[in-house]
């Protein structure tokens, strides 16, 4: 069928061009480029094609329709859409800005200083990424709603207030919660870059008389620019694209953002209008591509960010003296907000037969029935098995692709590498449900029977989340100076040997950061999986979703707690593997 074939290039008629082609392919780098580009192009374009096509017709997938620009007219001629895009921008900038500030602070404290407990901080900073954003939003509503939020009620009692001091149903509330949700991602990217930094520059600043704070603001943070921008970009697009938090916090506040509008017009309409959803997706894609372009512009002077050079080094650690307890306290407070409070609420929800503001009687009513459900139900065990498989294998495959792609886009001069990076972002820009349907349509009749098995979910995850892996690893690869590769090639090593023995070890912090981000997302993802899994291959994300749909918050809480604990073990293990060898 025509729409399934990809036309690759023109057919050269003359013999002279044939020799040019032959020489192109004889270089291993170009072969690898073609291989990687081929895989990514297929993964990204195959499902996206159906969505893009859908945005230009008036009929759903599979039904013959007519070419029309009506969807675009409907989506973009509505003045309300632009007002909402502005609100979403404010929300996105606020949330991603907050997340970057928090991440920088936390990363600096855990990686650069000798503050006590910093290893613990590093481990736990990732936990919010494990909890589905839905659960975190619900937890914060239970804590900060103006009528019976736990924190409000406690403060009112302690300070004798008449009205609740905090109202989560507001734009600041929305930015606050989304910012906290996004911080782990920013933390992982920024921390990886910080770990890989050569301390020579910082040390020379100190020798010249700068104090630690001066070093941080004038040397460290500016050198982190690629990582900061990477984290900021990803989080901005993620915030603008998120639906769970606005649905729970913005709706009751009668605040509208772009995604709630998309929901009303397209996804929540009846029947679902995927053509319109795809059209909105194209808009988000345009925004994402602009940001990718800006990111590449700002980090184009690659040499100036190289800090990982051939000299052996140890990351510079700052002795804070008695300030280190202050630093620990700051990190501690941040972690209480990011991790402890939502987790505690989750724990409470899992132990109570139904959630209500706890009183002294509540202690008598606590129950372990939700945990018993997890232990007794084979369906839950199977879901754990499926999700762990998807997380470990999927994240590894994805990071392998990401490392190769990142090398090509950052390191080589191959024409079209910018296009490769753009390709990676295409599937990601479409709203989750729209992409899921694109994937369904693309693979339901595939010659290899992967639909309704676990492999289609794997493909969906890799397709959708490759940008995360790419961003995580790009910011580390930028820091590696060319001289290391050149030395390796001068000694006679081929591409794969250099890649394996020089680059991958140096990129390890970035690869590990990306792997952890991906594994924790894969383990609870549901908007793509929900359409593609079948009863035998059910992962945890859809399980959590249908438990939530059925009103079983207790079981959702219990499952959330267990997933978090398993993930922490997984991550601790992964971090062990990536630890720097001293000298």
């Amino acid at each position: 069928m025509n729409h399934r074939t990809l036309a690759i290039g023109r057919v050269p008629p003359a013999a002279a061009t044939l020799t040019r082609v032959a020489s192109f392919f004889s270089q291993p780098m170009n072969l690898i480029f073609m291989g990687v580009a081929g895989v990514i192009a297929f993964l990204a374009l195959y499902p996206s094609f159906f969505l893009l096509y859908g945005s230009f017709t008036d009929a759903p997938l599979g039904v013959p329709g007519h070419f029309t620009l009506h969807n675009y007219v409907q989506a973009y001629s509505d003045p309300e859409a632009y007002r909402l895009i502005l609100t979403s921008f404010i929300f996105g900038i606020g949330a991603s800005g907050l997340s970057v500030v928090l991440a920088l602070t936390l990363a600096w404290i855990t990686i650069r200083t000798n503050a006590p407990f910093r290893r613990l901080f590093e481990l736990t900073a990732i936990i919010p990424n494990i909890m589905p954003p839905l659960l975190i939003s619900i937890s914060w509503v239970l804590l900060l709603n103006p009528s019976n939020g736990l924190i409000n009620v406690t403060l009112m009692r302690l300070l004798g207030l008449a009205k609740a001091p905090f109202n989560i149903y507001s734009v600041p509330g929305l930015i606050f919660v989304e910012g906290l949700i996004l911080t782990p991602l920013a933390f992982l990217i920024i921390a990886a870059a910080m770990k890989g930094m050569d301390p020579a520059l910082e040390e020379s600043a100190k020798t010249l008389g700068s104090n630690e704070f001066g070093v941080a603001t004038r040397i460290t943070f500016p050198l982190m620019r690629p990582a900061i921008l990477a984290a900021g970009t990803l989080n901005f697009v993620r915030a603008v694209e998120s639906f769970d938090t606005p649905a729970i916090i913005a709706l009751p506040a009668r605040i509208e953002v772009f995604t709630t509008k998309i929901w009303r017009e397209a996804l929540g309409s009846f029947p679902t209008n995927h053509n319109l959803a795809a059209t909105y997706g194209v808009g988000i894609l345009a925004i994402a591509l602009i940001f990718v372009y800006l990111y590449r512009r700002f980090t184009s002077q690659v040499e100036s960010f190289s800090t990982v050079t051939g000299k052996a080094f140890r990351p510079h650690q700052i002795e804070l003296g008695k300030w280190r307890y202050l630093a620990s306290s700051v990190a501690f407070v941040l972690l209480i907000l990011m991790v402890v409070l939502p987790f505690l609420v989750l724990l409470l929800v899992s132990l109570m037969p139904y959630y209500h503001v706890p009183t002294w009687e509540t202690w008598h009513n606590l129950t372990l029935s939700n945990y018993r459900y997890i232990l007794d139900t084979s369906r839950v065990h199977k879901a754990f098995g499926n999700s762990l498989f998807l997380a470990i294998v999927g994240a590894s495959i994805c990071m392998f692709l990401a490392a190769l792609t990142s090398y090509i886009t950052v390191r080589t001069k191959i024409a079209g590498r910018g296009l490769l990076e753009g390709l990676v972002f295409i599937p990601w820009a479409f709203p989750g449900t729209a992409l899921a349907l694109g994937l369904l349509w693309a693979y339901v009749d595939f010659p290899i029977p992967i639909y309704a098995t676990i492999w289609i979910i794997m493909i969906a995850y890799v397709t959708r989340f490759l940008p995360y892996g790419l961003r995580a690893v790009s910011s580390t690869i930028i820091q590696i100076h060319k001289e290391l590769e050149e030395a390796s090639t001068a000694c006679g090593a081929g591409f794969f040997a250099t890649f394996r023995r020089i680059l991958i070890p140096l990129m390890r912090p970035g690869i590990m950061a990306g792997w952890i981000i991906l594994a924790t997302i894969y383990i609870r993802e549901f908007s793509a999986s929900i359409f593609l899994y079948s009863p035998g291959s059910e992962p945890l994300g859809p399980l959590l979703y249908f438990l939530y749909l059925d009103g079983m918050r207790g079981r959702v809480g219990a499952l959330g707690v267990v997933i978090s604990i398993i993930c922490v073990i997984l991550i601790a293990f992964a971090q062990r593997l990536s630890r720097w060898e001293a000298k």
């Binding site: 239970l142 009528s147 009668r254 009303r264 009846f270 029947p271 139904y354 349907l437 359409f531 899994y533």
Partner: protein, 338 residues
């Protein structure tokens, strides 16, 4: 004389088996055929997972056939089923969702007409010519938190709910975003006549109710005590009440709701298993199981264990097509959000 007894016994046993075979004849043939197909039925639906689990276990016990169930919201089920069907490869045998999306799917030819022998047990007006019997109803009503509202202050009727004293105390799903709620608001005229309904809708909007994503979050806010009164499914009063939540529902008498059906796919990969499942689902045993779990099944005398459940009069909501929904959404956006 033992030998004669033996012959008599064998004769009676054979006779018994023969009659049993006649009675279950159609059943066993169907089940045998289903076993040859692979021994399982695949259903997509919005029926709650615990209920589906209970039915699946009982079904397997009775027939030896397995049920594989894919649970999602009705719109998602419709999306997936339609997409698979249009791609030419539907994986499902039976669909278990409510009326409105089923009608859309029916028009595209997704279903085969199946006259299940179990359908005879349903009142004639509850049988759709294409979809079969309406086996259960989901009912929308007013649910409230007993600890937060004194018995004297509880609203006594729908009209009571828009009394200004309840301002800020009511939560409901956003009628511009949640399709069942759009349907509910659009069907209020069936309970109170068109003129009164139009005024009521405006009064309801003037109350500035707290808007949430769907009927479940509305019920949850009442359970946690955040908002005392909700417009939501009446069955949540039972489901959350079972866990200890102090919920009760307003005895409105007539309540609006939607019907659920169990049609068979026209391209079912396991048609005989599908038929056997539909036969079971519509049968007495399954109805009793569902009612015990809080469902309002469409069988005379079978009620969920919710107090006064037998006094509820079910009024079917109006079906809306795509154009109808778009119009109502626009109308309600003006009324509720501006």
């Amino acid at each position: 004389m033992p030998r004669n007894f033996k012959i008599l016994f064998v004769f009676l046993a054979t006779l018994g088996l023969f009659y049993a075979e006649l009675a279950l004849g159609q059943d066993t043939k169907l089940i045998e055929a289903a076993k040859k197909e692979g021994g399982k039925v695949v259903a997509y639906g919005s029926l709650e997972s615990d209920t589906a689990d209970a039915i699946s276990k009982a079904f397997q016990k009775k027939t030896g056939l397995e049920m594989e169930y894919w649970r999602a919201s009705a719109t998602k089920v419709m999306d997936r089923a339609l997409s698979e069907y249009r791609a030419g490869k539907p994986f499902f045998d039976v669909i278990l969702i409510n009326d409105n999306p089923l009608q859309i799917m029916q028009k595209e030819g997704l279903f085969a007409k199946y006259d299940s022998p179990s359908a005879k047990q349903f009142p004639k007006d509850a049988i759709d010519p294409n979809l079969g019997p309406r086996y259960r109803n989901v009912i929308v009503g007013i649910v409230y938190n007993k600890n937060m509202i004194k018995p004297a202050d509880v609203p006594k009727s729908l009209e009571d709910v828009v009394n200004p004293k309840y301002k800020g105390k009511l939560v409901m799903p956003d009628p511009t975003q949640h399709t069942t709620t759009t349907q509910w608001v659009a069907s209020l005229f069936k309970l109170m006549g068109k003129e009164k309904a139009d005024k009521y809708i405006r009064d309801l909007a003037a109350m500035k109710p707290i808007l949430v994503e769907s009927l479940l979050p509305a019920a949850e806010r009442v359970t946690t005590g955040e908002t005392p009164i909700a417009i939501t499914y009446v069955k949540y009063a039972y489901i959350f009440g079972q866990k200890g939540a102090p919920l009760d529902y307003v005895r409105l008498g007539k309540m609006l709701g939607d019907g659920h059906y169990a049609p068979l796919s026209s391209k079912a990969p396991h048609p005989n298993a599908g038929k056997a499942f539909v036969d079971y689902l519509l049968g007495e045993e399954s109805m009793k199981i569902m009612a015990k779990m809080g469902e309002f099944v469409n069988r005379k005398g079978v009620h969920p264990p919710l107090p006064d459940a037998d006094k509820i009069q079910f009024v079917e909501m109006e079906d809306l097509d795509a154009k109808g929904y778009a119009e109502k959404k626009k109308e309600y956006t003006k009324i509720f959000l501006q």
